[in-house]
C-alpha cells in the first residue's frame, strides 16, 4: 500500500509538472460537446440522448488518458526499476488505477458543468447528487479496466490501437449501465433524482468482478 502511494504521488507530481494528460482530456471533451451540438443540430438535449452524449464523451476522453498511462514508465525504464524493487507488483495496478481515477475526477469536475452549460436542457443541479454517485462507480470500472488494458497495450507494437480496441468491448457492460442510469436523471421532467438501483448494482458488480480479476492477473503482465 505504501508502494502504491509512492507511485501514485510520483504520477501526480509528473502530471502537475508537465500538464500533459488531463488538459488534453478536458479539451477533447469540450470540443466533443461542440461537435455533438452541430452533429445533432440541437441547442439543448435531455433524457437518454443527453446521457448517451455525456457518457460517450467521457469514455473517449478517458481513453486518451488510458493511452498515456504507462508511457513514462516505458520510455524511462520505469518498468525495469519497478521489477527490480522488492515490492508487491500489484501496487503498480493500485497506483495507476488511482491516478487514472483522479484524472477522471478532474475531467468530470470540468466537463460535467460544461455539459450542463452547453448542451443540457434541464438544469443540472437537480441531477447532480445521483450523477456524482453514478460517475464515481463508473470511474472505478473505467480506471481498473483502463489500467489493465493499458498494461497489455504498452508492450505491443500498435499500442495506440490495441488499447482502445481491447478496452471498448470490455467496457460495454459498464457503459450500458451508466448510460441507462443517467437517462432518467437528465430527463426534462425530473422523473427521479436517484439513479435506478438496478443499474447501480450492475455497475458495482462489474467494478468488483473486474477489480478482483485485474488484481489476480496483473502480476503476469509485469514479469520479464
Amino acid at each position: 500500500m505504501k508502494t502504491a502511494m509512492v507511485v501514485l504521488r510520483k504520477d501526480l507530481r509528473l502530471e502537475m509538472r508537465t500538464w500533459e494528460t488531463v488538459p488534453a482530456m478536458v479539451l477533447f471533451a469540450l470540443v466533443t460537446f461542440v461537435i455533438f451540438h452541430f452533429g445533432l443540430n440541437r441547442a439543448t438535449i435531455d433524457g437518454q440522448l443527453a446521457a448517451g452524449v455525456l457518457v460517450v464523451t467521457l469514455l473517449f476522453a478517458a481513453l486518451l488518458g488510458v493511452n498515456r498511462l504507462f508511457v513514462a514508465e516505458r520510455e524511462q525504464g520505469g518498468f525495469d526499476a519497478f521489477l527490480l524493487a522488492p515490492v508487491d507488483r500489484t501496487a503498480l495496478l493500485v497506483a495507476k488505477a488511482s491516478a487514472l481515477f483522479l484524472f477522471l475526477v478532474v475531467l468530470e469536475v470540468i466537463a460535467v458543468p460544461a455539459f450542463g452549460l452547453f448542451l443540457l436542457g434541464p438544469p443540472l443541479g437537480h441531477a447532480l447528487p445521483g450523477l456524482i454517485l453514478l460517475l464515481a462507480l463508473a470511474n472505478l470500472g473505467l480506471s481498473v479496466i483502463g489500467t489493465f488494458v493499458s498494461a497489455i497495450a504498452i508492450h505491443t507494437r500498435a499500442r495506440d490501437l490495441i488499447g482502445p480496441m481491447l478496452g471498448l468491448p470490455l467496457l460495454v457492460p459498464a457503459l450500458i449501465a451508466t448510460a441507462r442510469a443517467a437517462g432518467p436523471l437528465l430527463a426534462a421532467t425530473h422523473a427521479s433524482s436517484a439513479p435506478p438501483g438496478k443499474w447501480l448494482l450492475i455497475l458495482a458488480l462489474y467494478d468488483v468482478v473486474f477489480g478482483l480479476i485485474a488484481y489476480a492477473v496483473f502480476d503476469f503482465l509485469l514479469e520479464d
Partner: protein, 217 residues
C-alpha cells in the same frame, strides 16, 4: 433433423435453422470459456502447449461464432422480418463478445516476443472468458425479451420430438468442435515436429525461420 422433427406451426420450414444456429452459438460461447480455462493452465504452469490449446480453442470458437451470427441473422430475417434486432439481449451480447474476441488475434500479432505473446494472450483469454457471463447479464437487463425462450431451465417449451432433435444437434456440433480442435492441435504439433526434424537432419540453414505470426509456434 429435416424429417423427424415436426414442422413449426407458425414458422414452417425456416425454423429448422434453429437446430444449427442455437448449438453453434452455445458451442462458440462454451469454446470462449474453454479457451479461458486453458489459459489458466498456461498461467499456472508456463507450458507453451497450454497456450497453443487456448489459442486453437478461441480460434475455433470465433469461426463457430461467426457461423452462429450469420445463421441467426437469417433466422431473424425469416421470423421477425429484420436482419438485425437490437432489442434482443442474446443477439446483442453475443455480438459484443464476438467483437471482444475479434481483438484477440490482432493483439497477439502485435506482440513480437513469443513468450510475452503467450502470457499476454492468456491473461486476455482469462479476463475475456469471465467477461462472457457478466456481459450477458448487463445486456439482458437493458433490453426487453423477444427471443423465444426455449431453453429456460424449469420448463422445456419444446415438444419432446423437437427437444430430442435439438439435443442431438447440440451434441453433434459440440463433437464437431472437439474434433476440429483436436485436428488443428494435431496439425500444429505435426508441423512443428516436421520443422524440428528438418532442422536436425538438414541443418539450420535449410529451414526458413518462422515469420511473425499470431499463432503460437
Amino acid at each position: 433433423m429435416f424429417f423427424y422433427a415436426p414442422l413449426d406451426v407458425s414458422q414452417g420450414f425456416v425454423q429448422k435453422i434453429f437446430y444449427i444456429h442455437v448449438p453453434l452459438a452455445i458451442v462458440s460461447l462454451g469454446g470462449f470459456i474453454f479457451g479461458g480455462v486453458l489459459a489458466i493452465g498456461y498461467l499456472r504452469t508456463g507450458d507453451r502447449a497450454w497456450d497453443m490449446r487456448s489459442y486453437v480453442a478461441i480460434h475455433m470458437a470465433l469461426i463457430f461464432g461467426v457461423g452462429g451470427l450469420i445463421t441467426g441473422s437469417i433466422w431473424a430475417k425469416a421470423s421477425w422480418g429484420h436482419w438485425w434486432v437490437w432489442n434482443e439481449p442474446t443477439l446483442v451480447s453475443f455480438l459484443i463478445v464476438l467483437l471482444l474476441f475479434a481483438t484477440y488475434q490482432p493483439m497477439r500479432f502485435s506482440i513480437e516476443d513469443p513468450e510475452r505473446q503467450s502470457r499476454y494472450a492468456s491473461v486476455f483469454a482469462v479476463v475475456a472468458g469471465a467477461f462472457v457471463p457478466l456481459n450477458y447479464l448487463a445486456v439482458s437487463l437493458a433490453t426487453a425479451y423477444v427471443h423465444p425462450r426455449v431453453l429456460t431451465l424449469n420448463s422445456a417449451n419444446l415438444p419432446p420430438s423437437m427437444g430430442l432433435v435439438f439435443v442431438v444437434s447440440l451434441v453433434g456440433i459440440t463433437l464437431l468442435y472437439v474434433t476440429l480442435w483436436k485436428f488443428e492441435m494435431a496439425a500444429k504439433n505435426a508441423r512443428s515436429q516436421v520443422r524440428r526434424l528438418r532442422r536436425t537432419l538438414l541443418g539450420d540453414d535449410t529451414v526458413r525461420p518462422v515469420g511473425r505470426s499470431a499463432a503460437p509456434s
